[in-house]
Amino acid sequence: MARITLSNLAHSYYPNPKSEADFALKEMDHVWDDGGAYALLGASGCGKTTLLNIISGLVHPSQGRVLFGDRDVTGAPTAERNIAQVFQFPVVYDTMTVRENLAFPLRNRGMDAAYIQSRVAQIAAMIGMEATLDRKARGLTADAKQKISLGRGMVRQDVNAILFDEPLTVIDPHMKWELRTQLKLLHREFGHTMIYVTHDQTEALTFADKVVVLHDGRVVQMGTPQELFETPEHTFVGYFIGSPGMNLLDATIHGNMAQTAAGPVALAAHYAPQNGRTQIGIRPEYAEMTAGIGLPARVLRIEDVGRHRIIRAEVAGSQISVIAGEGQPVGADLTHVRFDPARVNVYANDWRIKGAV
């Protein structure tokens, strides 16, 4: 197990990158703690797979270094890095039994038979496959195969890190819950450093202690799920995290007041005057439809998603979303929307600015 340091790291797929736009991964400096659970979150093409491939040794970065603990592994091949990886689609050895599949990484390293036996039994119990240990992997369903892949990733105790590349893509929603819980437990039990790549915010937020949000080859924010939710540092994080994403309204900022096209919105802090485009951001969870308090809003439609309802409304030409509880009635008298001042964030040119309380 090891701390992972990304020092001055950047990568371009062009041999002679000229401008910043040529870089698939823009310069970054990060230290990831030993035993942490990290998620790399972003849309397709944001650079998250490139970063994962650099860590696994599949891609050699154009600049900078990768350190596992104190050891520089930038030039080391995959096999020497002592990592485990679980891929998007199940990678199992079809002709082997489940047991042989799980034992394979240990056997290749010449572990003794008794240890392999007990370790395989332990992992099989973890992934709930004790009953099928002696079946060939070939005939199994996709999610059983993916469980084997997860198990094979976990079976070695001495790995520096375990990398997950969108491992739940092929899994049914109900099975996702089960596997995610198991991953959580495995992480708690063995304390491996885990890096989990995904485009699915729910998977990233629920899995990781720290989520690294990537956008356009750049790390726009790294933080706990709560930080990403409450104080998105960039409008992209606000949009990408949360379902629906954060509401953004153009506004001019005057001290503790934001002036929008529909009227003034109170802020919980004082802000210095800003240049460029300024916006306020508010999560749909912290907005509320009212019968007269706040900004005038016109309800466009109401989506019932079971445990709550999403009200789509229009405020001075911009569309916003408001979340209402399951039992809460939405009547025709709701003509305004109110924002919780403590939850309103202020953005200048897409980056969040801090106010003085």
């Binding site: 397709s44 049914d172 819950w177 995610r180 937020l205 799920p225 709560q226 990403l228 939710f229 445990r307």
Partner: protein, 363 residues
């Protein structure tokens, strides 16, 4: 005007793929087929499209028996999970291709293609080829091809499954809007309960080759008629606990008792299964009737504004979804509150014995 499935079933190699199913899909409705992988969603769609012939039963479309009719002669369009477009053609030609096959005039084609492209926000990409587009745009192109020929039946087989989360969210919001403009019968297969709810319309839940319930989507969600439907239409999965009714008392799980009043009063004594959804579990007492269960916390997951709790109550595994970021010790004891009004009661055969008490949710 409707597509009427009359006791259609499908056997393949001696195995039942689909049990006899009767459904009536009305003109201009959105119909969601919800169920896990290999529950029979795709098989049912293939029967509707005419790609497979039903082993028994008949398909009647607008009063005409179409059971043996070739797929080419039916007015159907299909969109798949994979983005299927002609890679060598431009987006314009891709959208135009079904109309060219129908022998429409150049004028008509041009008008229809431009209108459909506008609806799907593809106008700036008409001259490009599919592989130069993003995944979301490729799937829009496939959707446009399905819509342009004004088919009477549009089948969408998990069309958003291969897209990024956020793109999925956007298209999900757009599909009902597009659909409202078209007037066709839409059938949409998905594995995700949340997707079904967002699409609205009607939902048929499927489980092991059987349609377990069919009705208006929020209604099926709130009033499942059996335990399987409740299970299929819940994400996180529905929680279950054994329940014994004896006289005027009911015992839930590990010795939690509630009075058997109201909708429970008329039930016969015996064993039942109580089901409740994750979001109806709370860490504090929300209502006076709430009862407390002693649970062990197996794991917790924080989504930013909410916390998923993975709980053990005796041998039962539950999932709770509670408000706020809750930092509770793993392995510790937690008292979980549940209002009996939120409980569904299922009998030994899994049939609904007592519904959830109405909560003013508008249903």
């Amino acid at each position: 005007m409707a597509l009427d499935l009359q006791a259609v079933s499908r056997m393949d190699k001696g195995q039942v793929i689909l049990h006899p199913t009767s459904l009536t899909l009305e003109q201009g409705t959105m119909n969601v087929l919800l169920g896990p992988t290999s529950a029979g969603k795709t098989s049912l769609m293939r029967l509707m499209a005419g790609l497979d012939a039903p082993t028994t039963g008949r398909l009647v479309w607008n009063g005409q028996d179409v059971t043996g009719m070739r797929v080419q002669d039916r007015r159907v369009a299909m969109v798949y999970q994979q983005f299927i477009n002609y890679p060598g053609m431009t987006v314009y030609d891709n959208i135009a291709s079904p109309l060219r096959l129908l022998g429409k005039s150049t004028d008509q084609i041009d008008r229809a293609v431009r209108a459909t492209a506008e609806m799907l926000k593809l106008t700036p990409m008409l001259a490009r080829r599919p592989l130069e587009l993003s995944g979301g745009q490729q799937q829009r192109c496939a959707l446009a091809r399905a819509l342009v020929k004004e088919a009477g039946l549009v089948l969408l087989d998990e069309p958003l499954a291969n897209l990024d989360y956020k793109l999925r969210e956007e298209l999900r919001a757009e599909i009902p809007r597009i659909f409202a403009q078209s007037g066709a019968i839409f059938v949409y297969a998905t594995t995700e309960p949340e997707e079904a709810l967002l699409l609205g319309g009607n939902t048929a839940t499927l489980w092991e080759g059987r349609v377990t319930q069919f009705g208006a989507t929020p209604d099926v969600y709130r009033n499942p008629t059996d335990a399987i439907t409740a299970r299929v239409f819940s994400d996180p999965p529905m929680n279950f606990v054994d329940c014994v009714k004896q006289g005027d008392r009911m015992t839930l799980g590990q010795g939690v008792t509630i009075p058997a009043t109201g909708r429970f009063a008329r039930l016969a004594d015996g064993r039942y299964q109580a089901g409740f959804r994750a979001n109806h579990l709370h860490l504090n007492r929300k209502t006076g009737d709430s009862v407390q269960f002693a649970c062990t916390l197996g794991a917790s997951e924080i989504t930013g504004s909410e916390t998923f709790l993975h709980l053990h109550h005796g041998t039962d595994r539950w999932t709770g979804l509670v408000h706020g970021v809750q930092d509770l010790p793993i392995g510790g004891q937690v008292g979980i509150w549940l209002d009996p009004a939120q409980v569904y009661l299922f009998d030994a055969a899994g049939q609904l014995a007592a519904p959830r008490a109405a909560t003013g949710a508008g249903v």
